[in-house]
Symmetry: C2
Subunit: 269 residues, 2 copies
Amino acid sequence: MDRLSLNQITTKSWSLPEAVRGCAESGVGWIALWRDKVAEVGVDEAARLVAEHGLRVSSLCRGGFFTGVQPDGSAVDGLAQTREAIDEAARLGAEVLVLVVGGVAGGDLAASRRAVADAVDALVPQALDRGVRLGLEPLHPMQCAERSVLSTVDQALTLAEPYPAEAVGVVVDEFHVWWDPRIEESIAKAAGRIAGFHVCDQLVPLTDTLLGRALPGDGPIDHRHLKACVDAAGYTGPIEVEVFNAELWSRPGGEVLAETIAAYRDHVA
Amino acid sequence: MDRLSLNQITTKSWSLPEAVRGCAESGVGWIALWRDKVAEVGVDEAARLVAEHGLRVSSLCRGGFFTGVQPDGSAVDGLAQTREAIDEAARLGAEVLVLVVGGVAGGDLAASRRAVADAVDALVPQALDRGVRLGLEPLHPMQCAERSVLSTVDQALTLAEPYPAEAVGVVVDEFHVWWDPRIEESIAKAAGRIAGFHVCDQLVPLTDTLLGRALPGDGPIDHRHLKACVDAAGYTGPIEVEVFNAELWSRPGGEVLAETIAAYRDHVA
């Protein structure tokens, strides 16, 4: 249980102070924070609350969108926002800044991938300086057009390779990569680069590309198998339960956290 | 234009006789047939209609579901149905039987993949005997749980490798594989194994995992790039336009076929 981290999107109905208190009361020692929730109380107050409750921050979600477009098609300066996010992660004591790199811009997949590589290259010095690891998170291929031209762990490793492992790591999120026929060998190759392990399940039928997720145990993903792969690659850090699910989000955070802990214990740990 | 094939799912409102007549009248020389549409007129009549209109059959859709479950969760004897489909393809003069291999059964991805490999192994002698090529079609990873534990061209090649190329080939469908960071090298490796090239686009936002497709040109897929890859791998066969789209399906087949031809000419050929 000492590796469990609550990714606060899972208890979306909770504010940051509620989530921090909920974790402390339930014996969960790690939390992953989202920037919008941090902004509601301010970075300093968020850092104070986390420390007061004796928690550690597994990651801050998120930077990225380096291809210049958001999922709704509007423009965004992802590089500038990510520079802010790196500083914020440092102030929060977050070990990792999760990066959602951005989707296909201008109908040009190859150019979009180059824009991502260029952005990572530009950010590495700041990440090293602030002691924040950039966590490249491959997203499910169904999110390639809108959210992430980075789709596999193998691809993330290629992107990370030129840089020190403490500057650029790879986040393995089960929902996004469980289907990959190369996932075992990719995770093995990722030894030393794994910056996070996120668990959740996939709803079947999959009726929503973003919210079609569930607590571990409610879908086809073999959590113990993937955890064994990540363990074998030497990753000993926190394991985030991160679930996007509208029904879960509609319920009280305390109830959801209790189910999260039970699902983690029964299907992951 | 001589490589264009109408996959008859694109003109779903048309019966087989209507689709065959439509192709002949529009100068489309190839058609891909679906078993449910063939069954409406009978195999012999379907074969007669195709011959009478001077068409060739690029593929029959489809066999598969070797993991024993259908997308709705009901049981199916995929091997038995595929044996029927091979014979049917031979009678129709179809060069290829497209295989949708089936999703995850019993929550066991690895066992499901083994079941697929076993089924292919069992079918090869019949395929060789009837002169029908089994077309392993990787489906998009978002369909892994429900429809296909075969997700990438690379994985399909590994599955096909032990068998003669005339018995087991790989179908490259843009919708399913365009996001793959290894697609260029995978298609190059597929030289001699490519049993079909299917084109269509992806809707953005992607709101439906099955029907979120569009005619070429309406999405992020670079058709000329992927066609160049397939051409470079030596594939000279028919190119099917295969679109699952509810709006398209609601319109008259003639209108849809005209748009299909225009989209193929403007964005693929």
